[in-house]
């Protein structure tokens, strides 16, 4: 053992980095509250309007295109309507879009232009409170949208099984995964131009992740590539729950998002420490 040799010399005094306590004051709630107040006094119409986007897609694709598609045959051999096939995918997509928007553009703007975080961080609130607070607010908002859309699906008879109600927590998990990774990515961004690249990751996921048709139309290699991307796991998880086509593979999807959350939060914390404490 070599550690004992150091005892002759006083250990170099390193300033404590404070662990998580230096970043987190346990007051993420204050950040969430600010978000709610800003919503109430400001653009609640815009916040509300977010609900309509998936509904428009459901009408145009699920029903409009559905008249040409007819029914879709699931892996189990059961057939379901095209609208019932597309609706859960739209739920997952809107969870992704909302979470990514809130954790990237929104945070970026507040950080660089609104200077809102500067004011917050001058109080006892720490950077991790801000990060968790913003993520929680995004999840709250996403949860309300999801509930709204699930209600629309229920009314239109697109929830085919009782397990549909489990898709609400599933969507929150999906959103949490995207938001935590989004926040970690945003902490590296410096210009609007860099932010544009986020869209280049989102668009292919949206178009190819079994959103509008099953993966089976693709060659095997492409299928594997898509299966590596997060949105596909989200779509499959939610679709399984709303259609009642349950399979053990769904635990895999859940695990994928748990992994995203863990990695995203760990990364964000490291970055926040580098940005604000060092």
């Amino acid at each position: 053992m070599t550690t004992t040799t150091a005892t002759t010399r006083p250990a170099p005094r390193r300033r404590s980095r404070g662990g998580v306590r230096a970043l987190y004051a346990g007051n993420a709630g204050a950040v969430v509250e600010r978000g709610l107040r800003a919503t109430r006094s400001g653009n609640w119409v815009i916040v509300l309007s977010g609900f309509f986007e998936p509904v428009f897609y459901l009408l145009a694709m699920g029903y409009g295109l559905g008249t040409f598609v007819g029914d879709v045959t699931m892996a189990s051999g059961e057939t379901i309507s095209y609208a019932a096939f597309v609706a859960p995918a739209l739920l997952a997509v809107s969870a992704m879009n909302g979470a990514v928007y809130d954790s990237t553009w929104n945070v970026f703007f507040k950080m660089h232009f609104g200077k809102i975080y500067d004011a917050m961080l001058a109080t006892s609130i720490g950077p991790l409170d801000v990060a968790l607070g913003e993520i929680s607010y995004a999840l709250l908002r996403g949860g309300v949208y999801a509930l709204g859309f699930l209600t629309v699906m229920q009314v239109m008879g697109l929830n085919l099984a009782w397990t549909a109600f489990l898709s609400l927590p599933a969507l929150l998990l999906v959103a949490f995964g995207f938001a935590s990774v989004g926040m970690a990515v945003t902490s590296y961004m410096k210009t609007f131009q860099q932010m544009d690249w986020i869209n280049f990751v989102m668009l292919p996921m949206f178009l190819f992740s079994a959103t509008f048709y099953p993966l089976t139309v693709y060659p095997e290699a492409v299928q594997w590539f898509i299966k590596a991307l997060p949105l596909w796991h989200g779509v499959e998880l939610v679709r399984g729950l709303t259609t009642g086509e349950l399979s053990p593979a769904m635990w895999g999807h859940v695990a994928y998002f748990v992994g995203m959350v863990v990695l995203g939060v760990a990364f964000t914390t490291t970055r926040l420490r580098a940005l604000f404490l060092d």
């Binding site: 815009i46 428009f56 409009g64 668009l203 509008f212």
Partner: protein, 284 residues
Amino acid sequence: MTTTSTPTPTPAAQRALAAGALPRRFGWWYVAEAQLRSMKAYGWTIVASGVGQPLLYLLGIGLGLAAFLDVSVAEGPDGPIDYVTFVAPALLVTAAVGVAMDEFTYAVMSGFKWRRLYYAPNASPVSPPQLATGVVVACAGRMLFTVVVYYALMVAFGAVGDPVSGLLIPLVGILGGLAFGLPVMAYSASIEDDRGQFALIQRFVFTPMFLFSGTFYPLDSVPIAFQWIGWISPVWHASEIGRSLSYGSAPGSWPVGVHLAILLVMAGVGGLVAGRIFTRRLRG
């Protein structure tokens, strides 16, 4: 007839009259030049989205969705049309409209408000209508790049019936983009505060226009209650022209002249109103 003796201008006035001549004619171009130069800052975004978007949409919708559809969705003059051939002109038009959405909303507002960029040329000989024209010309330039790339990829995907007459499709795309963009520009120039109007335009104008303009299936196949969205949508009118240039008009479709006239009126009126609003705000 009255004869008024015009006094000879003083040397100072003469110098001014000489210096004003060029900007009176080409002021719009000077503005366009400056706008294009500042687009260089996000040049890579323009190139990447200009190439990437058509590639993704043509793959995802034109080929992926087409492989999944087992019935024919649209008819040409001589029977069923490949799905990708049907969808491609509408996707191209939507790309041009997307550029308009980029260049005529926040960018215009920041010219007046956040960054006050329009007030710099305003103090130069350039007039407000010239300023507005320059902004439009530069945006049309960006659209030109986007739609030409789109068209090239459409041809590569075999998504154009007649690639020769189809060469006009990019121009139709720009016209569609401006028919949407110029009224939006007029609106953006008129608002004083951002209270989320652009987000609402995105959600309640742009997205429905993309989805309900007969983009993915013929407009007459949707319930009549939704068809009006197509009738007032530049995307539908421009797509219909594009389709007839690509593979000919489907039986029972509107005459191309009508679509063209509607687009020209939208762009023309939008442009005139925008010019007026630019003048009002910069010359109060």
